[in-house]
Amino acid sequence: MGSEITINVCMGTGGIAAGAVEVMEAFRRELEDAGIKDAVVEKHCKLHKVGCRGFCARDVLVDISVGEDTATYQYIESGMVGQLVKEHVVAGRPVQEWLVGEDYFQFHDKQKKVVLADLGKIDPESIDDYLAVDGYSAIGRVLDSMSTADVIATVKDAGLRGRGGGGFLAGVKWGFCAASDSAEKYIVCNADEGDPGAFMDRSIIEGNPHAVLEGMLIGAYAIGAATGYIYIRAEYPLAVERLKTAISQARERGYLGKNIRGSAFDFEITIKLGAGAFVCGEETALIASIEGDRGMPRAKPPFPANSGLWGKPTIINNVETLANLAPIINNGPAWFSSIGTDTSKGTKVIALTGKIRNTGLIEIPMGMTLKEIIYDIGGGIEGDRLFKAVQTGGPSGGCIPQQYIDLEVDYEGLLSVGSMMGSGGMVVLDETDCMVNIAKFFLQFTKEESCGKCVPCRIGTKRLLEMLTRITEGEGRMEDLDLLQMLAEDVRDSSLCGLGMSAPNPIISTLKYFRHEYEAHIKQKKCPARVCNALLTFFIRENLCVGCGMCKKACPVNAVSGEMKKTHSIDHSLCIKCGACYDACKFNAVLKE
């Protein structure tokens, strides 16, 4: 009998977008092929779907393991599967040219995986897979031998801080709620991951949904809740499906329901779909939304831990916070607090994206420097362009410039340079990105998403956006810069909730570190990064133009003229600077300056 063969296909959203469903189907077909069926049966070949392991840029990723030997393939398409099966599975010869390279291992080497440890290894739709990696052993331990006070003390000692952005100590928050003698309490999993450029929570749920359920069980036990809600974005259909599957499996096996594992502890979970409002990530807005109302925040106190859902004590924890709980219970608080910095313990899952070579989902020990993240894990800037800034914390965060590249990433570190951890999105920007445009992009976002309840946020973000728009269109005045700064600070200081308080961060940080770019837009009427079309002039380069006519066809105002196979030109009196010619040209002949 030959050694056992396992084939893992990455089936997260990234993998599926790259064609993982087709790859999976192709494997199924090929393995059932009559000609090789005997060989496959003899080798105990198993086909497995797994969640995201992080390196989505290389999807579809496929692992083929023969016994202990694992080979990982990248960029696999369904058409390549036949050869993989024939050569690797049947003949035992890995297909060298499709294997991942050095950089795949570099991407993983410096990471420290706690939350993501089992992603990419287990089938997210199988509770047996989760049980096989010691899943639900933490809740077993909690129910068998720990009091609610023990659990809270453990989480406090571990120093786990909320991973959704606030960074409040999870154990302390639980303590407030546990102290209440209300007969009804709730625990809510906040999976309303609305930051653009963030996909940590989605990937965790898609890759290991049971870990989130187990975290909720531990939290519910600690605070004395019998009902839990998962508030998740409707834009994440796959994650919702996998959660539903996980919940029904957990119920079947007695991890949800009455008298869990023979104890007196009852717990049920309901999924609530968000309806598309960024502000619902804020705790009190989220509560309003679960209750069926407009998701508008209210003033705090009272805090939800005292008066939350339907006026009852409610704990709201982020997906990643919950996914940290089982490892903390299993390995002890000392183990957890040995990872990280003085004030920020454990690891952080980060969505590393933007203009870098290796984009994807990573998990780092707190305190790793930006440089290590961007260059060692991320492989440096795409196309060898120059690094300009890294944007962290989504619309609530700021842009960190080159001079802080050695900054250690933890809650306080990021705050000290005018940004924040947020939920952990990191977007790397290079020399071709205009910082005024980036600030405008985020203000556009927060203006749209402002719920309108408080004046500073509702009107302030609109006025800030108007000023930024003026500057990017060459209508800015130097006084605007002081006005921007002043209004930004006012909005920050006087808004009702976190959305408004942090909305000006992208402006404040770019004004601080990239003031020269604002000035170039205003004084020279130039966009140094050549992004703001209104400040650019389009030319056609004679030496590169082949006269194909594509730009002429693309121009919406007939500003391009020229005969076929002869150099074309742009009439600047007609040009509306839309950039259509630039996009249409296949020969790089259109120049913008």
């Binding site: 959203t13 990234g14 977008a17 653009p196 963030a198 409707a234 968000g274 309806a275 409002a277 919406p556």
Partner: protein, 155 residues
């Protein structure tokens, strides 16, 4: 209202409201069945649940998921997350809006074949810029490639 429509509303009421669902969940059901939230449905539920219609409209207009007008047969969603933005999503939107003759970068075509819209972030940043047509995700797109992809939906 047609009898058939009435029956649909009745069904939603039976499965949703009777199960204790709130306004948001009811509206999500209505939209699933009709493709949008028709005014008649709001009136019907308002009377049936004894909740004022303004409360429904308050919720509908608050959340970007709800639509008060019929939508196209094919829904094109351009992701406008940070990464898609810096990798050129706005130019894709412009190109598609131009091709479909939609002003303002979003809306539904006259022949009801396409609805073009933006979404904050679909969390597929590794393959940015991303465009979703119905359920199919297109990654690493350019204005040109996306214009081509749309053609197959035109029949």
């Amino acid at each position: 209202m047609e009898k058939e429509e009435q029956q649909k509303l009745e069904n939603i009421y039976d499965t949703s409201v009777a199960g204790g669902d709130n306004i948001i969940a009811v509206l999500q059901q209505v939209q699933k069945v009709f493709g949008y939230v028709p005014e008649e449905a709001v009136d019907w539920f308002s009377r049936r649940m004894n909740i004022s219609a303004s409360k429904f409209y308050g919720v509908i207009t608050f959340y970007s998921q709800f639509h008060l007008n019929p939508r196209g047969k094919n829904i094109i969603t351009v992701c406008s997350g940070t990464v898609c933005h810096v990798k050129g999503a706005p130019r894709i939107t412009e190109k598609l809006a131009g091709d479909l003759k939609l002003k303002g970068g979003s809306g539904t075509t006259k022949d009801m074949l396409f609805t073009l819209e933006n979404v904050n972030c679909v969390g597929a940043c590794s393959i940015a810029p991303v465009v979703i047509v119905n359920d199919k995700v297109f990654g690493k797109q350019s204005p040109g490639s996306m214009a081509k992809n749309i053609k197959s939906y035109k029949e």
